[in-house]
Symmetry: D4
C-alpha cells in the first residue's frame, strides 16, 4: 500500500503533474506508518525464522485462540507462553492446528510448522533447584523453537558446590550460559566467576519470606561482582532464551 | 542496697514488729529494681569477663568520654565501637587511660586493663572484598577483647572460587565461621554449603545502585538455601563476634 | 570411579608410560567432580547422622514421592518440610514407608528408620503467640529428627512480660534459644537481654497491615540491641533448628 | 472586615433596604473566609494558652526570624522546632526577644512570655538509649511550653529489662506515657504490656543498616500486640508531646 | 498461690526456722512468675471491667472455641476479633454461650455476660467511605464492650468537604476522635486541623494500585501536619478503640 | 432547612427582635452544614450533567443496589465502576432500571437515562497491549457517559514503534491523550515527546516479577522526561477519563 | 539539508535520471533523521513560543553555559531549571546575556528575549507550607516564561482549613489548578473535592521520617478519591506548569 | 609453585618412593588452591588480553596505589574504576606509571602498557541525556581497554524520538548495543523494539524524586516488553562493557 502511494506520487513528479516543492510537502505528511513499514520489513527480515509469540496472561481464551489462528495462518511457527492447560485445550478444539503441542512444565504452546535451522552450539541452562524448573523449561522451549539447541543442567545450587564443579568443563566451553535461580540467587555469581562467556541470569520467584517473590534473587544477580552477568525480569525464562539465541546466531554467523 | 532493705524487713518480721500480712503487702510494692538486680547480678556473673561496650553514634563526644570513664574506673575492659578518631583523641587527652588504643580499620577504641583468658579455638572471619574489611575488623576487635581468638581470611569472594576453595580445610575445622560480604552477599551460602558448623553472616553496605545500602546482601543471606546460616544487621560485625564468642565459650566449657 | 582414574594415571607414571610433565597436564584437566567428591565425602562424614531433607514447595507430588523414595532407600532418616497433607497421603499410598508419619502442626513428614542419638541438653523454643506455633513446630520437628531435644515454651509475648519472666531460669540455663515471633517481633530482644547464650530469632509472617508478611518482625530482630541475636528467614523454623542442633552437637562434643 | 460587611448587611435588613430573601441570597455568596474566621476564633479559643509553633526545616533564616517576630508580637509563647543554632543566633541579634532561649539537645527555640498554667500530673517520657535523647528532648520542651509537666526516664531499653522494671510504679501511675525508641523499637510494646494507660510511641531514626532510618522501629511500634499503643512519625517528639498534653488537659478538666 | 508461698516463708522467719540471710537467698530465687503475678494482679485491677480478647487469625477453630470457653467460664465478657462466621457457628454449637452474638460487619463475636458501666461521653468514629465500614465497626464493637459509648459518622471523606463540615460541632465537642480512612487517608489531617482533642487515625487497606494495601493511608496519617494525630496499624480498629476507651475512662475518672 | 433558619433570623432583625450584634453572633454559630450546602449547590451546578458514580469494591451487593437505586431515582445518569457481573445481575433483578447495561470489558454498569451532550472533539485512548484493555475500557466508558467522545487505539507499544508512528497524526491533533500501559510503561514518554498536548498516563498492573503490580509502570510514568505528562493511580482509568473530560469541556466552552 | 536531499532526488525523477522504482528504494533508505525532522518542525510549530529548557543537575557548569549559549543565540527564550547560583554567575560572566536573570527561590535562570503573549486566564498555584515554596516557585517561573499568568496562594494546608476555604472562589473559577504539597499531601484531595476543574498535584520532598523524601505525599495524591487529580514526579514543579500552560493555551484557543 | 609440588610427588611415584595408593591419598589432601590454580590458569588463558581491574570505592588511597602497583608490575593493562582524581594524583606521584592516564568523565584510571588487539566491529553506546554521560564513559573506557571499539551516541532520549530514529541504521547493524538511561529508562525498550541484536541496558541514578536513585529506570528496563534486553546494576557501565566485549570477541572468533 505504502509502495503504491509513493509510486503514484513519484509518477506524478515524473509527468510534471506535481512540482518538486509540492512533492516535498506531500512526502512530509505521508502517514508515518508507511515509512515506518519500510523499517519494519527490514527489521523482520533480520529476525526471519523466529516464531511469532503470544504472551497469554491478561488475555481471554477467546483472544488467544484468535491471535493464535491469525499468526499460524501465515505459516510461521508460533509460541504461546504462560498458557494454562485450558488455553491449549481451546486451541486443540479448533482442530486446525493438529501440530500444536503443550509443553506442560514450561506452560507453553508450541506450533512448529516451518522447519527450524538448528544451531551448532548448545546453550547450557543451569538451574539451582527443582522448583526453578518451570522457568528453565520456558527458556528451553523458547530457545528450541528459535532453533537454538540447549542442555538443561539442574540441581547444582551453591549449597552443594561439588555438583556444580562437576559440570565445569561444559560451562567453560559455552558461548553463553543461562542461569535460573530463586531464593538467594547466588548461582549466577558463582558461575560468572568460573567462566569467560556472558551469563544471563534469571531470578525466579521461588522462595518464601524475605525472598519477596523473587526480589532477593533479582538484587543478588544485579549486584553480582562477577562482570559479564546481565539480568532479566523475575521468572522471565523467555527473554533470557531470546537473548541467548540472538547472541549465538550472531556468533555462528560471525556477526 | 536492695539486700539491706529486704534484710531490715525480714528482721522486723522476725522481731514481730511487722505482721506477716503487712510484710507480704510491703514486698509486693518493693521497687522492681531491687528484685530485678538480683537477676541482673546473676546474669552478669554468667557474662563475667566480657568487656563493657559503648556504641558511639548519636552520642556526643562529651557523653562518650564520660561513659568511658565511668566504665573504665570499675576496672573492666572497655570497647567503644563506631568511634571516630576524634573521639579517641578526646579520650587520650584525659590522660587517664594510657592503655586505651584506637583500632583504626575497625573504628574501635579498646581499653584492655584486665587480663583476658584466650580461647583455645580460632574463629575464621571470612570476607569477600577489600571494602568489607572495616566490618570484618570490627568483628575481629570485638571477638579478641572477649578473649576469642580469630583469623581473618580475606578477598575470597565467589567470583574467584579457587581462592575460597584453597582455604577449605581451615573452614571445615572451625566451630563457627563469620562471613562478611557486601554486594550480592553470596559468600555465606557458598561457605554454608561446604561446612558443617554454624555460619554467622554479616551483610555489609558495600556496593552501589541496587545493593541499596546492603539490602541486597541482607536478603541474599536470609534466603540462603544452606541451612545453618544465621544473619545479623547490615555492617554489624560487633553482634556477629559476640554471638561467635558466646558459642565458642559454651563449646570450650562443654555447655 | 575417581580413584580408579587417578590410580591408573599414577600407575602409568610409575611404569614410565607417562612422563611427569604429561601427568601434570592430565591432572590439570581431570573433571572437578572427581576431586570435588573427596571433599563431599569428608563433608558428609562430619554431618553423619543427620536426616536427608526435602523442601516441598514448587515440587509436584510425583517429584516429592520419587525423591522421598530414593532417599529413604539408602536407610537414612528423611524429613520433608512444608508438605501438604495430600503429599503425605501420596507417600502413604506407596505402602513402602509404613514408619513415615505426618506432623500436622509443622506440616512435616518424618521417616525415622535409623536410631537417633538423643542430645543431653534441651533447646528451648519460645514463641510469642498461638499463631506462631506452626513455625515453632517446624523447628521442633527438625531439631528432634536431628537428635536434638527441645522444649516448647509458648504464649510468652512481651505484652505479658510476667509470663516470660516466669520461664527465666530455664532460659538462663540453655546453651542456645530459638525465639519465634511475628507481629512486632520484640520477644527476641527481650530474651536476648536476659540471657547470656546465643539467641536464634525466627520472624514469622503472623500479623497484618504494616507487618508486611513478616517484614516488621524481621527488621525488629535484625535491629536488636541485644548482642548475640542472629536471625533467619521469615517462617524458617527449619534453619533455626539446624543451626541450634549444630551448635549443641559442637558443645556436647567439646568442639 | 467580615464583621463590618455582615453588620452592614444586617443594618440594611433592619432598615428595610434589603428584603429577607435578598439577604439570604447575599449571605450565600459571602466569601468563605469571613465565615470561616468565626470558626477559627472559636477553635483558637479552645486551644487557648498553647504556644504558636514554627517548624524550621525548609524555611530560610530570614523567613523564620520574620515569622517568629510576627507571632511573638501578639504576646503569645512561641516554640520553634528543629532549629539550628544559627537560627537562634539570628533571633538573638534582633534584641527584641531577650527571653527567648535555645534548648540545645532538643534543637528548639522557646519564647515564654506569657505565664503557663502548669499541669498537676506528670507525663513520663521514656527513652531506650542515649542517642534517642534529642527526640525525647523535643517532646519534653514541647510539653513543658504547653504547661504539661514531664519526667524523662532514660536508658531503659529492653536489652536491660531490670532497669525498666525498676521504673514500673511510676509508669503504672501515669495517665499517658511517651516512649521514644530507635533500632528495634521494642520498648513501646513492653511498656504497653505493663501499664493500663495509653502509650504514645515515637520511633527514632537511631540505628543503622536494616533500621532503614527508623522504618524498623516504626513498623515494630505499629505492629505492637499491646493494645493502647499509638504511633507518630519517626523522630516526631513534637506531635507526641502535643497529643499527650491534649489528653492530660482533658483529664485534668474532666473532659 | 504466690501469697501462700511467701506467707509460709515469712512465718518461718517469724518462728526463727529460717534465718534472715537464708530468707533473702530464698526470695532471690522465687520464680519470677509469682512476684510477677503481684504486678499482674495490680495491673488487672486497673483494667478491671475490660473484656478478655481473642485475636482469631492463625488460630484453628478448635483452639478458638477452647480459649473462648476458658475465658467465658471466669464470668468475664469476651470479645473475639477477626472471626469468620464459621467460628461463631462452632461456638454456637457448644450451646454453652447462648448470649454470644456475631457482629457481622465487624467480624467480631461478643459475649456480654457481665453488666457494663457505660461511659458518659461519646467517641465519634468517623469514616471516609462505605468500604471502610468493617474497620470502623470493629472499633465500635470493641469500644462498646469496654463500656465506651460511640457514634459512627460515615461517608464524610475529604472529597466532599461540606458533609464533614456539617458534623463539625460534634467533632469539636469530643474528648477523642477515631478517624478511619483508606485510599489517601487525608481525613485524619483535615479533622486534626479542625479540633483540639487527640485524633486516633486508623489507616485501612481499602484502595488499589498505589494504595499498596493501606501503606499510602498509613504514611499520610504518620505525616499529618496536624499535631495531635497518632496512628495505629492498618485496619486495626481494635487498638484504636482500646486507646480511645482508656483515654475516656481516665477523663471521666479525672486521671 | 438552612434557608428557614436563616430567614427567621433575618425576620427577627427586621422586626427589631434581634439586634445586629446579636445576629452577627448567632450567624457565627450556625452549623457549617447549612452554609456549606450553599457551596455544594453552586459546586454541583458547575458539574451538572455528569453522572453519579459508585466505586464498587468493598461494598456489599446489597449496599450497591441500594445506592444505585437512590441515585437513579433522581433521574441522573449512573456509573458503577469495578462491578462484578453478579452486581449487575442483582441490579437487573430489581427490574427498575431496564436501561442499565453491563460493560463487560470495563467491568462497569451504566445507566443512561438523561440525554448526553456529546463533545465535538475526540480523546484518543492509547494502549500498549491487549492485557491493558480492561483499564482502557474503564476510561472509555467513563468518558462516554460524561459526554466525551473517545477513540481506542490499541496494541501500539514501544516494542513495535512503527505501529505507533502510524497513528501519529491522530495523536498530534488531539487536545488531550490518555495513555494506558503496564509492564515498563514507556509508551507515555514516547507519546509525550511526539505531541504538544497534555498526556494523562495510566499505569496498569499488567506484568509480572519486577513490575510489582504496576509499580514499575507507575515510576516510569512519573519520571517521564517528556513534560506535559501527568499520572493517575495504577489501573485508574476512571480518573484519567474524568480529567480528560473536564479538560475538553473547558476547551469546548472556551474556559 | 533534508529538504535539499529530497529535492535533488525528486528533480532526478523529474528529469528521468532516476526511475520511480529506484526512487522508492532510495527513499526507503533515507536516514530517518531527515524525515524525522519534518515531524520535528511541524511539532515545534505547534509548540511555538515556548522556551528552550535546560535541566541542570548532572551537567557540568561548562556544559550548561555552552548549551545555554547555543539555545540563546537562536533568539528563543531560555529557561534553565534546578540551577545553582554559581551556574548563573558563570552565565553572567559571559556578558552575552545581559537580560538573563536568576530566580532565586525557584533556582531557575530565565532569559526572556522574545516578547511573550500573556494568557488571559490565571492558574492558581496553591501550596501547603512555606517549605514547599521553592517547588511552587519553579512552577510559577516555568508557567510565566510560557506566557501563562499565575497566582501563588500559599500557606493554606489542610491543618488550617479556614484559610483554604477563604480562597475558594478563586479556585472554583480556575481552568486548572496546581497544588504543591509535601508531608501528607492531603491538600490535592481536599481541593479536588471542592472544584470542578482538573487539579495537577505536585508532591514535594518536604517532610521527614515516614515522608520518605516525598513518597508519602506522592502516594496520597495518587490515591486521591477526588477524580480529576493527576500527579507529577516529586518536586516537579516544571512539568506541572508545562501541563497547565498547555491546557490553558488549548482552552484560550478553543482546542 | 603448585606445579613444583605436584611434579615432586609424581617424581616420587616414578622412583617408587611413594606407592600409588599413598599418592592418591596425598593428592586428595593437596590444598585446593593448588588444584584450583590449574583451573584459574586455564580460565585466565581464555580471558587473555583483558586488563586487571580495581574497583576503588571502599578502598583507601594507600590500598589502591599498592594494588595498582602490584598488578602493573606484571606487565598487564590496568583499569581502576570509580576513582577520584586524588587517587590518580597519588598514583602519578609514584612516578612509576608515567603511561597511566585519568579519564575524567568516566572517573577511571587507565594504564595501557601492553598493545591491544582492536576489534573489527563497533559497539554503539547510546545514552539518553547529558547527565548519563559519566556512566556511558565508564562503559566506553572499559570496552576500549578490552580492545573493543565503541561509538558514543548521545542525547537521543525517547522524548525526542526523531533524533533516535536518525541513528537507526547504525543501531540495526550492530552486534550488541549498550543503552544507558536514567529517569524513566524507556530508551532500552524503544531500541530493543527496533533492532534484532541483544541490548544491554544500564539504568542510571540520574533523576530525582520517584526515580529513587535509579530504581525507576531499573524496573522499567527489567520489565521491557522487547525481548533481548538484559540489565545490569544501576550505573554499572563497567559490567555492561565487559559483557558486550565478551560477546563481540565470541562473534569475531566465531564462538
Amino acid at each position: 500500500m505504502q509502495g503504491e502511494q509513493l509510486k503514484q506520487l513519484l509518477e506524478q513528479v515524473k509527468k510534471g503533474d506535481l512540482s518538486v516543492d509540492e512533492a516535498v510537502e506531500k512526502l512530509r505528511h505521508l502517514p508515518y506508518e508507511d515509512l515506518g513499514f519500510a523499517c519494519l520489513d527490514h527489521h523482520r527480515a533480520i529476525r526471519r525464522g523466529f516464531p511469532e509469540v503470544i504472551y497469554c496472561p491478561g488475555k481471554t481464551i477467546e483472544q488467544i485462540v484468535k491471535i493464535f489462528g491469525a499468526l499460524a495462518k501465515k505459516g510461521n511457527n508460533v509460541l504461546a507462553t504462560r498458557a494454562d492447560e485450558e488455553v491449549f485445550e481451546a486451541i486443540s478444539q479448533t482442530t486446525e492446528f493438529a501440530q500444536a503441542r503443550y509443553e506442560k512444565p514450561a506452560r507453553a504452546i508450541v506450533l512448529e510448522q516451518k522447519p527450524l535451522q538448528r544451531s551448532k552450539t548448545v546453550v547450557p541452562i543451569v538451574t539451582a533447584g527443582t522448583a526453578d524448573l518451570p522457568v528453565a523449561a520456558e527458556a528451553q522451549v523458547t530457545a528450541e523453537i528459535m532453533g537454538q539447541r540447549t542442555e538443561l543442567i539442574y540441581d547444582v545450587g551453591v549449597a552443594g558446590l561439588h555438583r556444580l564443579l562437576g559440570q565445569l568443563e561444559k560451562l567453560q566451553n559455552a558461548n553463553v550460559i543461562i542461569v535460573v535461580a530463586g531464593m538467594e540467587g547466588a548461582l549466577a555469581s558463582v558461575i560468572g566467576g568460573l567462566v569467560s562467556c556472558p551469563v544471563i541470569a534469571v531470578p525466579t520467584s521461588v522462595g518464601y519470606g524475605a525472598s519477596f517473590e523473587g526480589l532477593s534473587a533479582l538484587l543478588t544477580m544485579l549486584n553480582s561482582c562477577a562482570a559479564g552477568v546481565t539480568v532479566v525480569n523475575i521468572d522471565n525464562g523467555f527473554s533470557a532464551a531470546v537473548t541467548a539465541a540472538l547472541m549465538c546466531r550472531k556468533i555462528e554467523q560471525g556477526g
